[in-house]
Symmetry: C2
Subunit: 703 residues, 2 copies
């Protein structure tokens, strides 16, 4: 298989044409024009020769082996042609033709047909509905893209062919080379993972993806290769609301694009969100060394622009480097009196290129400077091109340098010169800062320890002792056809996995509730309906808090009874619970994502959980160190650590809860999700006030 | 004064030079080269003539009136020269020279000297340390900027001269004209407000500002003119932490850049945050009609790019327009079968310009479409220039149209052509979307009712009855030299202004506390230290909540007594307070900002207030409708309105509290800030659990 992709010696173009307005012509032309080194076999029913090359009417007629077939016949005609390719044992077929999944139901079934045709054969398929493939190392342009990059070990995998044409035009203009350009099309067979793995030795990978076909594998590939070479991902469709993601709080918070982004970043993918970011970031990674940390120096001939750039820089999580007294002394001697010798360094408006050079040389020697942003405005005496040349020369320092030449026609030549020197340069500083931020993020990823290595999920230490009892609880719920575990079962599971819950009792009648409170729980207390079918209790007012005395308790009990009748909750019971006073409401949860596997979630809970969105998601399994990082990433973290004389919360005890949840997810496949909201955390006490465990709909038998 | 600025018939250049490398030469040259219509008087000690123009050695020698003097002598030499200008009664003087406030203490005192020289005279001063001024309507380039724009009624007021040179280069390249370019420099005399007022009849204003000199006036000018013409503001220095803003919670939340942004937007300024946004937004406003609402159509030959653009569009608060069945029918007939006839409309990769034209014509006739984004990728058959020409022709529909031609060299000509047709066009869709979002925001501002008109702050209805008592409380605090009012005074003021507070008593000894709780407050209760000098009580643990019985109460009392000894709180007392159970913690506050006046603040309170930053700020005075809008803008608003079967909070009662606070701020100048945090809001009860009133440091006598 690998041979087929990386050692292509012969290409057949099926649907080749002598008409220059047809794709079947363009593809043959692209093979010829860009000097494909192997044999070209145009397959055509009409033409005798195309561009002077002898044609065949079908691949079976070709007397030699074919390594690659490119199909450009109408969609309806693809299946029989593909069948012939399989018979000929062509290892790789690219289906350029449209008219498949993207064009409705009949197209989708035709696409299924393609899959069936290649099933069990040695033929792999790229597309359908794609632009094709370019392998610059083999001078192979098996696409209808009208350009061809120089070779560089950089690849672009795109689920949009059109974006590919923009990309090829853009990298050509920016003197960036390429190894592979792959247009994935509908991904009927080969997908991003196939290419990510095979292109692992490239220096840089960029992907445009509309869906990730096998999320777990994608993460695994990230795990394996992203520490060696950057992979930039633009994932489209982030405003889509995943319909199945609203099954539970954690589900709503864990799913969709935020989850994808968190998962990809966890495994070292550089996630960008616009086309401009994709292109700009790729350029920066292609041209620059990685920064060693996040401290940036700015050298500018415009104080105002430097101030605005500093604002942006800080917002993006970067920091202004500190210049040492020694560095400042040097700058003081080199620069005029009115210049700023602090960072941002203002060489002021009348700076000639020499002054820029001196300032850059000085700050780049400063230890605290890990990267440099040079800003230029075209003032009367500004030497735009000479300054650009000097900036290029500064690459010798081995630190990343980006530039912003702000203006129009005047700065154009400077920008061109910088591109030739491989300095990422832009019209505006914010673009330069965005790419520095992306590089700094990635450099940080590489430096972080590999605590989040996925270890094979073994059964937890609790499993042996408790699984019989817990499986029994599950069987009971299954027998009742419930979608989530009843409160009593949840409580029992929590106790077995050492998750602290408030003292509570299910009561069959009001006097029993009164007795429970009088003898054990005490006032104030909480009364609530527990029912497997009742997901969001507060939706119908089924939780009554701060009951202060027996009169209120009885009243509350009758109100809940009435509520159950009103909402026809036949499987419900009333539960009296100790009121847990104070504490910071947190949300802790886990859910099983179809694509990425088990997701852990932690954040601000209570009523704030969904609205303020202060949650952090991670793909399990996580070690305790990674769980701590997860907790520290939330906005609520400083409060947990104790602000203003408050005693801190013991974060290790929160990590215990996260660990228990992770154990439960790995021990019992029947659990679809676990939600603890709120987990009330105070210095004295950590208590899971409300836990929900939803069952996996497809899980027929417990493991 | 206005005459001087807008009818300049004679200009003197002081420090004029015959040396082409000196600013004093460039300025004379700029006047000559760009055909200034009036008299030019170079003032020089050395040259007899400059560029063929007779020189004078001093302004007093010039035999006629001088309307404008431009000073370009070294900083030290400016004061005597300015004195001569004043004697000659020159109405406007531009001081180009540097060496003032920007260069340390001696410079600052020299700048003060300039102010003193013009004080009481008819001379006004622009600068020092500026680039000068361009008035394209009068062909006046009184600056050292090496370019001159064509005339258009658009002005740019910049506190950075350097950015001005970038701007002039950029608008030249983009065929945008200008009326005034003003480089404000150090603003020793004339500032942004002076020019904003006088340039009020321009069609569009852009400002780059590092500080706003008179915020109240700036807002007033916004109030007067921003409904007629857009004013774009880039305010630099937003990462600065205002040192004085940490005096209270509200202070910390209300001050700095977030306040400036909120205030400016409240008064209709279009706030941008990067240089690129400033330039791009200006172009869009210069070239496009305003959208009538926020519904955008996308026409693209690349599905992927359209999806990413849709993502960005939705994130920026815009919406995808719905295409009616009729419109879809038309598109179905016009476009190939595999095209998308929904929005985003995908004309697919092989679209020639005619297909783009048909799609654009169709969607622009759709009522639900208020603006159009056209995306183009350079595919084999794409007619880039013809498509650009057709896009330009679409302006006839009177709806704003922006374009993104994604690529490199191939799309360059298309982008140029679009600029000529005055269609804002970019390499990437996100830029186009940013400008559409800014225009849509501004169009919305114009449509909103003028509920937030500032009315002159009169005394409130409560003033007459209560001011004697409240003034008395203030006098007592003053006598003790306190920085904020003691708890007992705060409670009394709250009662007088109908702000509900929890029942509480200051106790002198533990038995008194026990008695209060037993006879009136009940358990659970709260015990806290009240002391004027203790600002953040929880910093030292001076609040003990959830005291459930007498033993706990006594224990808590002794603990607080010990705490007072430990922290040497001599002015403190212990206060027992009813425990307010449940309720959503909110923050409501007001503070007096030096620049913008009274600021009202509302948001999520409690421990979340500062961390989650869910607060909305407004410049007072506000009417109740504007207060409601303010409340609805927070993330917490949906919870207040009642989610999931919860009863809603009566927002009118929150507005009552905001109104009471606004009254207090306008009734008593001695109040610097009021903080209510938390205000606990439940359907049954709205209660200000903790109120702080800080005193104005400079307020010697109460009003």
């Amino acid at each position: 298989m690998v041979r087929a992709l990386f050692d292509l010696r012969s290409v057949a173009v099926i649907g080749a044409s002598g008409n220059p307005h047809k794709l079947g012509y363009t593809i043959v032309q692209n093979l010829v024009q860009y000097h494909f080194r192997g044999a070209i076999y145009p397959i055509s029913l009409h033409a005798q020769t195309i561009l002077g090359i002898k044609t065949y009417t079908r691949v079976s007629e070709v007397p030699r082996d074919i390594d690659l077939a490119v199909i450009a016949v109408p969609g309806e005609a693809v299946p029989p042609v593909l069948r012939e390719c399989v018979r000929k044992a062509i290892p790789l077929v690219i289906v350029i033709s449209a008219g498949f999944k993207e064009s409705g139901e009949s197209g989708a079934s035709r696409e299924q047909e393609l899959r069936e045709i290649i099933a069990g054969s040695s033929t792999r398929l790229l597309g359908p509905n794609c632009l094709g493939l370019i392998d610059a190392a083999s001078s192979l342009n098996a696409s209808f893209a009208a350009s061809f990059p120089a070779y560089e070990p950089i690849s672009f995998i795109s689920q949009s062919g059109a974006l590919g044409t923009s990309f090829l035009d853009w990298i050509g203009t920016n003197h960036i080379g390429l190894h592979y350009f792959v247009s994935l099309g509908n991904k009927a067979d080969l997908d991003e993972n196939y290419f990510l793995e095979r292109l692992r030795d490239d220096r840089l990978i960029a992907c445009y993806l509309e869906d990730i076909k096998d999320g777990r594998r994608f993460l695994q590939l990230g795990q394996q290769y992203n520490c060696r070479r950057p992979a930039i991902v633009l994932k489209a469709g982030r405003s889509e609301v995943a319909a199945e993601a609203i099954r539970s709080h954690t589900g709503a918070l864990a799913g969709g694009y935020p989850l994808t982004k968190a998962a990809l970043q966890q495994y070292g993918y550089i996630v960008v969100e616009t086309i401009g970011d994709l292109f700009h970031t790729l350029k920066a990674f292609a041209w620059l060394p990685l920064p060693t940390f996040n401290r940036v120096a700015i050298v500018s001939n415009a104080g105002g622009a430097a101030v605005v750039a500093s604002d942006t820089l800080i917002e993006k999580g970067l920091e202004l480097a500190d210049l040492s007294p020694a560095t400042q002394d040097v700058l003081r001697q080199l620069l005029p009196r009115t210049a700023s010798i602090h960072n941002p360094v203002d060489v002021i408006g009348d700076a000639l290129s020499e002054r820029y050079l001196q300032a850059m040389e000085t700050v780049l020697q400063e230890e605290d400077v890990s990267s440099l942003l040079v800003i230029l405005t075209p003032q009367v005496m500004t030497e735009i091109e000479k300054t650009a040349a000097y900036i290029g020369a500064m690459k010798k320092h081995g630190k990343p340098i980006v530039a912003a030449f702000i203006g129009g026609t005047l700065v154009e030549k400077g920008l061109k010169l910088l591109a030739e020197k491989k300095v990422p340069a832009y019209h505006f500083p914010e673009t330069a800062i965005d790419v520095l931020a992306a590089m700094t993020w990635y450099a940080g990823y590489r430096q972080r320890t590999a605590y989040n290595l996925p270890t094979p999920p073994l059964k937890s230490p609790y499993y042996e002792q408790h699984h019989a009892a817990i499986d029994e609880l599950y069987q009971q719920a299954r027998a009742l056809n419930l979608s989530s575990l009843p409160q009593t079962s949840v409580d029992e599971i929590a106790r077995r996995y050492h998750i602290a819950i408030p003292e509570s009792y299910v009561c069959r009648q009001v006097d029993q509730a009164v007795l429970c409170v009088r003898s054990s729980i005490g006032y104030p207390c909480v009364l609530k309906i527990v029912a497997p079918t009742l997901l969001h209790r507060s939706d119908i007012g089924a939780v009554i808090t701060s009951i202060n005395n027996e009169i209120e308790l009885r009243e509350a009990y009758y109100r809940l009874e009435a509520l159950m009748r009103e909402h026809q909750i036949v499987d419900g019971a009333i539960c009296v619970q100790k009121y847990v006073a104070g504490g910071i409401p947190l949300i802790v949860g886990a859910t099983r994502d179809d694509n990425f596997g088990t997701i852990l979630l932690f954040g601000s809970g209570g009523i704030y959980a969904e609205l303020l969105g202060d949650v952090v998601r991670r793909v399990a399994p996580l070690e305790r160190g990674a769980m701590l990082d997860m907790i520290l990433e939330t906005h609520i973290a400083p409060i947990l650590k104790g602000v203003r004389g408050q005693q801190p919360i013991d974060l290790q005890r929160i990590i215990d809860i996260l660990t228990a949840i992770q154990y439960l997810m790995q021990d019992y496949d029947f659990i679809q999700s676990i939600d603890i909201n709120p987990l009330l955390a105070s210095p004295q006490n950590i208590c899971a006030v409300d836990i929900k465990i939803a069952l996996h709909p497809q899980c027929e038998t417990p493991l």
